[in-house]
Amino acid sequence: MLEKVIILEGLDCANCAAKVERAASRIRGVDNANVTFMTRKLFMEVEDGKLEQVMKELDEVIHRIDSTVVLKVEK
């Protein structure tokens, strides 16, 4: 398991934050996805070796929810 923190730049609707959280937790290989609207951060645990695939899917689903959000990896 790898802990990841992703900054969701431009996320400015609280309901979208909830949607992003739901969408992220549905991605295979992601555990404990958690979006904090106030700090615009997504916390998640990613299974080893799946990071690349997860990030690709995450980018897709987030843009489907709000096309103006830019993803930045914090750690």
């Binding site: 923190v5 400015d12 609707c13 609280a14 309901n15 979208c16 909830a18 959280e21 739901r22 958690n34 904090t36 609207f37 106030m38 700090t39 951060k41 916390f43 843009h63 489907r64 929810i65 096309s67």
Partner: protein
């Protein structure tokens, strides 16, 4: 920049809207004017709705607002259509302003990140990034600068402002040899510091990390609202659809009236007010707590604190200072100072904590004084000749051994009796001092709704129970081993009422298992203790137990606001929906139930950050 552009668009749209309302035009020109106003204010919303539908997102707020307003145009209610969009945009703008403002104020509050360090290398001083400084390097901090890394003062003395970390307004004095932490602000003297920790390990980094990731653990209230929002919108939209189609078909009435009612439903269908104001309240509460010098690691802990029914304290280091000191001097036929002086002189070569605390209480230099014949009587005390007088200083057994009549005392703590030339001269009481604000802390906790206070200690019964009684603590459990403390907390957890929570307060060093077992584990005096910061859910930076009551009040205020907002928003929305269904509400009321409620809930949420009265 983005906000400014939106504002200009809203104002332009509003002006055109006003023209449309005031100038008596009709027919196609009326439509043109209102349509222009609509597109200027809400064109982007419609565009986003279209883009999102293409991505398969249907029930989002852009779509609902577009549908409601376009619908209003279709049924001929142009002004309503524009007004709904106009207010929606104003609401959105206000929302992003409020959120940004509260983000910024938390960032200000935590404006402790040092930008640079003055590294001293071979007589030269270089300005470098704090990341580049190594352990063992020498740095210089000038007056007015932030201390960038944890270390030890090599030379210089100064007053440092610790308020950013501790909420403490009185500056702390540092001098050669003092430990100094990053995040302090040097006020007046030049300090040379030997670095003891890398920047990433320094206090300031750890605290920033903690605060920035604080709200990642969500409270029940937050989870409830996101879940509610998930079902609320689709349900309201489906009802709107039914309302638009079924009554006209069944009652064979005109469609336009029922479509108008359905459109009001769409306007009210956005759960924005709740979804935004609840996390904002929690965030404000956490920010307010850190302003008091208390770090709360998540909104779930803030929620649990507000429901605290039982507060369990560890004694030593939490309610008491954990250091021995003279708490009473009771002389007989001599002055108190004389008594202390003789005791201090007789015990001057002993390194026993009791002797150390007597010398500290005497507080004057002891060298070059006439003393001879010092002899330790193991397990009893000491005998010596001071100023030509025979001194015996020790416990009751020493007095009995020497056949000296002494005052028996029931005092808790360690008693040192003194005899001068075979005559009793009084006693000195040494005990672990209760913290100044411990009594106030217990009183304030009770006032803020805590039903039971409990003290756990490894100390003996007399000492423990005396402290508990003095402070007004309900239950005290003494002579406990560490695992006994865990067991006791588990019992207390079973006894409390199910929806309330149990808080444990310790120094965070020896009580990690108990901290983990409690609903909320609070570590005290954590500044500089990394282990404590890691182990606890709530971290009190200073040594003051009264901060527990402060943070509890902050949490209750935040939760009160959360409840007010939930009840207020749901009640208004429900009322308007019912009125709309029966044809008693217009789109104007719908806008109020959406944007108006949002703005009011946000204004209410912003109050959570104001904690001046609790500091």
């Amino acid at each position: 920049m983005k906000e400014k552009r939106t504002l200009i668009r809203i104002i332009t749209g509003a002006v055109i809207f006003a023209v449309g309302m005031l100038v008596p035009v009709s027919g196609i020109w009326r439509l043109v004017i209102f349509l222009a106003s609509y597109l200027i204010t809400g064109g982007d919303v419609v565009w986003k709705a279209v883009v999102n539908i293409l991505h398969g997102q249907v029930f989002d707020e852009n779509f609902l607002m577009s549908l409601a307003t376009i619908g209003a145009f279709i049924v001929g209610e142009y002004p309503e259509g524009v007004a709904v969009m106009l207010f929606y945009q104003v609401g959105e703008l206000f929302q992003s302003y409020a959120v940004n403002k509260s983000r910024a104020s938390i960032a200000d509050l935590m404006d402790i990140r040092p930008d640079y360090a003055n590294l001293k290398q071979g007589g030269e001083i270089k300005r470098v990034s704090p990341d580049e400084v190594q352990v063992g390097d020498i740095i210089v901090v000038r007056p007015g600068e932030k201390v960038p890394l944890d270390g030890k003062v090599l030379s210089g003395s100064s007053l440092v402002d610790t308020s950013a970390l501790t909420g403490e307004s009185v500056p702390r004095e540092v001098h050669e040899g003092s430990e100094i932490l990053s995040g302090f602000i040097n006020q007046n003297g030049l300090l040379t510091i030997e670095v003891e920790k890398m920047f990433g390990e320094s206090t300031v980094s750890r605290i920033l990390n903690l605060v920035e990731n604080a709200s990642s653990k969500k409270a029940h209230a937050e989870k409830f609202i996101t879940k509610f929002a998930r079902y609320y919108t689709p349900v309201v939209v489906l009802v709107a659809l039914a309302l638009a189609v079924l009554p006209p078909l069944i009652l064979s009435e005109a469609f336009s009236d029922w479509i108008y009612r359905a459109l009001i439903f769409l306007v009210v269908s956005c759960p924005c007010a709740l979804v935004i104001s609840i996390p904002l309240s929690f965030f404000g509460g956490i920010g307010g707590a850190s302003r008091c010098g208390v770090l709360v690691k998540g909104s779930n802990y803030l929620e649990a604190l507000s429901k605290a029914e039982v507060v369990v304290f560890d004694k030593t280091g939490t309610l008491t200072k954990g250091t021995f000191s003279v708490t009473e001097v009771r002389p007989k036929d001599v002055s108190a100072e004389e008594l202390l002086r003789f005791a201090a002189l007789a015990e001057q070569h002993s390194s026993h904590p009791i002797s150390v605390s007597i010398r500290k209480a005497y507080g004057q230099k002891l060298d070059e004084l006439p003393i001879s014949g010092v002899e330790e009587i193991s397990g009893h005390g000491v005998k010596a000749v001071v100023d030509g007088r025979q001194v015996f200083a020790g416990n009751a057994r020493l007095m009995e051994l020497e056949n000296i009549a002494y005052d028996r005392t029931e005092q808790t703590g360690t008693v040192v009796h003194l005899a001068l030339d075979g005559r009793y001269a009084g006693y000195i009481l040494i005990s672990d001092e209760v913290k100044e604000d411990a009594e106030k802390a217990i009183r304030e906790l009770r006032k803020s709704g805590v039903k039971k206070t409990v003290m756990l200690t490894g100390d003996n019964r007399t000492v423990g129970e005396a402290v508990a009684e003095k402070l007004g603590i309900d239950e005290a459990y003494t002579q406990l081993l560490p695992d006994g403390k865990v067991e006791r907390v588990e019992k207390l957890l079973l006894e409390k009422s199910p929806k309330s929570s149990l808080v444990f307060v310790g120094d965070g060093i020896n009580d990690a298992p108990v901290l983990a077992r409690a609903d909320v584990g609070i570590a005290m005096g954590a500044l500089g203790s990394d282990a404590a910061i890691e182990a606890a859910d709530v971290v009190i930076m200073t040594d003051e137990p009264s901060k527990i009551a402060s943070v509890m009040k902050v949490s209750r205020k935040a939760l009160r606001i959360v409840k007010q907002n939930i009840v207020f928003a749901l009640a208004v929305k429900a009322a308007i929906l019912v009125l709309a269904a029966f044809g008693f509400a217009t789109m104007w009321e719908g806008v109020f139930a959406d944007v108006g409620v949002s703005v009011l809930a946000i204004l209410n949420a912003l109050r959570a950050m104001r904690v001046k009265q609790y500091q």
